[in-house]
């Protein structure tokens, strides 16, 4: 769904999220807007538009703000969107920028009442002298209208920048994490939250790590994980204590001393953590790898996949141009058999955990004619070069795929490439394996 406007910074997509059924897909951008796509039901009348996504609703979620006390501008960029499990006809989602989380309710209106006694069609009061009889208003069908309204605003909970939100499986609470703290909120209560993790040192000079991502366990409402800039994961149990500064489990892999460099700390920082759908595993992304961790083993990940190891010798230039600070996300497919993450040059990578095969694909207009099959790409690092290979030096580091999402049940993926959203479907293998 390419943007038709002139590309501007505000259009850069900053988060992508399917809802729990996969019927809806929400994107947030740097300009504070949320765009929701809905999957068209497959119909015999229009077989070509089977299951494609169309724009369902667009609204402005956050506006730029100014913190007068600290003389700080607060960016309107949407950092994360999380859908609430659907409990009635309406859909709800949480969207957050650096400081404020908002709960939005999305409702449909496809009927409207007609035949009021006191008001006319435009809503103006009728001249009472013209009213001679009473009528009962009836609901008449109308064009579908999607209405979005902010139902809650969870403000002033965070001093530092919010990096993640996660809805609890209890459907009543959710957590929000910033660099140093994690707060627990009740979805219905906006004027207070509970602080459940606080890693701020007494003296800020002693700060050595920050929280980079966090997520609730998909089934156990008392468990959550948070990742740190030092590359470690901490699993916390809210039943153990009110303040979960002490972790129940600490997952970290000792550093390989032969890989030590100026930038070791940067590339080991975890940019994203995701529980598997089963709840048994966790997936983490750092600058060069994705790792699968088994909740039962803290000493090291059970699987490590190289995303773009050819960048290891380029870390200096990537530090200079700030690319080394890019925060890539990662995703599981519905059956937890394939993991996906983005890279540079609008490439994204998929790793099949069972077959151990991996593929590199590109999200670009040229290679993405509708219904065209994506061609696997390859980055060559010297040595033999095949015809369509891209050399490391010709990679475009301004084209980065930071945000990806996988449909919860089907082989449909959403890829955000700067200001463009690509949705790919695997029609042949639409069943998850």
């Amino acid at each position: 769904m390419p943007s038709h406007r002139m590309p501007s910074e505000a259009d850069i997509i900053s988060t992508v999220e399917f809802n729990h059924t996969g019927e809806l897909l929400a994107t947030g951008d740097k300009g504070g807007r949320v765009v929701i796509f809905q999957r068209e039901p497959e119909s015999k009348n229009a077989p070509h538009s089977q299951g494609e996504y169309d724009v369902y609703s667009t609204f402005q979620s956050h506006e730029p703000e100014f913190d007068y006390l600290k003389s700080l501008e607060i960016e309107e960029k949407i950092n994360k969107i999380k859908w609430l499990p659907q409990q009635n006809a309406a859909h709800s989602l949480l969207s957050t920028n650096d400081k404020t989380i908002k709960l939005w309710k999305i409702t449909e209106r496809d009927k409207r009442p007609e035949g009021y006694n006191l008001k006319d069609e435009e809503g103006k009061l009728k001249d009472l002298s013209t009213v001679t009889s009473l009528q009962v208003p009836v609901l008449k069908p109308m064009d579908l209208m999607v209405e979005v309204s902010p139902r809650r605003v969870f403000a002033n909970g965070h001093t530092y920048h919010i990096n993640s939100i996660s809805v609890n499986s209890d459907c009543e609470t959710y957590m929000s994490a910033d660099d140093l703290r994690i707060n627990l909120w009740h979805l219905a209560i906006t004027d207070r939250s509970f602080n459940i993790v606080d890693i701020k040192p007494a003296n800020m000079e002693d700060l050595t790590e920050v929280i980079t991502a966090s997520e609730f366990h998909p089934h156990h409402c008392n468990l959550f994980v948070y990742s740190s800039s030092k590359g470690s994961l901490r699993l916390c149990d809210m039943r153990a204590a009110a303040l979960c500064d002490k972790h129940s489990k600490l997952f970290e892999e000792p550093e390989d001393p032969s890989n030590r460099s100026f930038f070791s700390e940067i590339i080991s920082s975890v940019s994203d953590v995701k529980f598997s759908h089963s709840g048994r595993y966790m997936l983490t992304r750092d600058y060069l790898t994705v790792k699968v961790w088994d909740l039962n083993m803290e000493a090291r990940p059970v699987e490590t996949y190289q995303v773009h190891d050819y960048l290891r010798s380029k870390l200096c230039s990537l530090y200079e141009n700030d690319c080394i600070f890019d925060k890539f996300e990662c995703a599981w497919n519905g059956s937890d058999s394939v993991i996906m993450t983005g890279a540079y040059n609008n490439f994204f990578r998929m790793f099949d955990r069972n077959t151990k095969r991996d593929v590199t694909l590109e999200a670009s207009r040229e290679s993405s004619k509708p219904r065209a099959v994506l061609k696997p790409r390859r980055v060559c690092v010297g040595g033999k070069r095949r015809r369509d290979d891209i050399s490391v030096d010709s990679l475009d580091f301004t084209k980065k795929i930071l945000h990806t999402a996988w449909h919860p049940a089907e082989n449909i993926i959403a890829i955000a490439a700067t200001n463009n959203l690509y949705i790919f479907q695997d029609k042949v293998n639409s069943e998850m394996h």
Partner: protein, 303 residues
């Protein structure tokens, strides 16, 4: 790992990043600044260890000439041979890191040694910074190097909005491994250090500029003190340095007294060149930073 940048360039690039992060929209990103501070630390450790390697090598050469004794220490151990270093101090006279001047001058400190007034520029690195073997050998630099940076910074806690003045650890050049810290001036010299007792050694100007009482306090970023005789630190700083503390804890005043960009008036009491508009010349920036190693930790402080 191929690295086209040497430690000095990395330091100046990192400082520039920290500086520009102050003006970016949305406020200072704590995570990014923390990571940049790690790069700064790593680069500085390499720079220091290279410098000491060079100094030590020259010391050994001189000793060989003078005493005709074989060098005791392997080059490899240089980074750790802190106790041996101070013995050279007397020979070297005032040691300074990187004058604010001379990007090209690479006069070894040894030549400046006889003249107390000579301004020593950083010696040429004995091994190119990009030599992975070397810096891996020297890395991680031990806490012996005492990478504390003595400085006072005024910080504002973002949460409590309490303003406090924090005194960091103390930057020793190379004698911290010794229980008798020469920097403290009056400690009894350890074995092998007899000649260095009372040696006139210059601190990194960044340290003393915080202490208004220091007689040779210089402005940060001002002309590097031109070889004025070293005056031992008046304050007993030794207690600030805990040799027993873990390397991580003693390492580096990491980042981070960060607060919003509005409090530029509040922070450091001293005029700090790194707070002023940074020189666009990266080299100059690095020189200044290295000349006064307190600068970079202060640069990380938001304002």
């Amino acid at each position: 790992m191929e690295c086209a940048l040497d430690a000095q360039s990395l330091i100046s690039i990192s400082l520039r990043k920290i500086h520009s992060s102050r003006t970016q929209r949305g406020g200072i990103k704590l995570h990014k600044n923390l990571l940049v501070s790690y790069v700064l630390r790593n680069a500085r450790q390499l720079y220091l260890s290279e410098r000491y390697a060079e100094l030590y090598r020259r010391q050994q050469q001189q000793q060989q000439q003078q005493q005709q004794q074989p060098p005791h220490h392997q080059h490899q151990h240089l980074a750790y041979a802190a106790p041996g270093m101070p013995a050279s101090a007397a020979d070297f006279g005032p040691l300074q890191l990187g004058g604010g001047g001379d990007a090209e001058a690479r006069e070894p400190a040894a030549r400046a040694a006889p003249q107390a007034a000579a301004a020593a520029s950083p010696p040429a690195s004995p091994a190119p910074a990009s030599s992975p073997g070397f810096y891996r050998g020297a890395y991680p630099a031990p806490s012996d190097f005492g990478v504390h940076c003595s400085s006072q910074t005024t910080v504002l806690d973002l949460d409590t909005h309490v303003v406090t003045t924090v005194e960091n650890g103390y930057l020793h050049q190379d004698c911290c491994a010794s229980a008798h810290c020469l920097c403290c001036g009056q400690g009894a010299p350890g074995p092998g250090l007899a000649s260095a007792a009372g040696c006139k050694r210059k601190y990194y100007p960044g340290q003393e500029e915080d202490d208004d009482d220091e007689e040779d306090a210089g402005d940060l970023g001002a002309e590097p003190p031109g070889g004025a005789p070293f005056a031992p630190c008046k304050r007993a700083r030794f207690e600030d340095f805990c040799p027993d503390s873990s390397p991580d804890a003693s390492n580096i005043s990491n980042l981070i007294s960060i607060f919003g960009s509005g409090f530029s008036g509040l922070v450091s009491r001293q005029p700090d060149s790194s707070e002023q508009p940074p020189p666009l010349n990266g080299q100059l920036c690095a020189k200044q930073a290295l000349a006064s190693l307190g600068a970079w930790t202060r640069a990380i402080v938001a304002f």
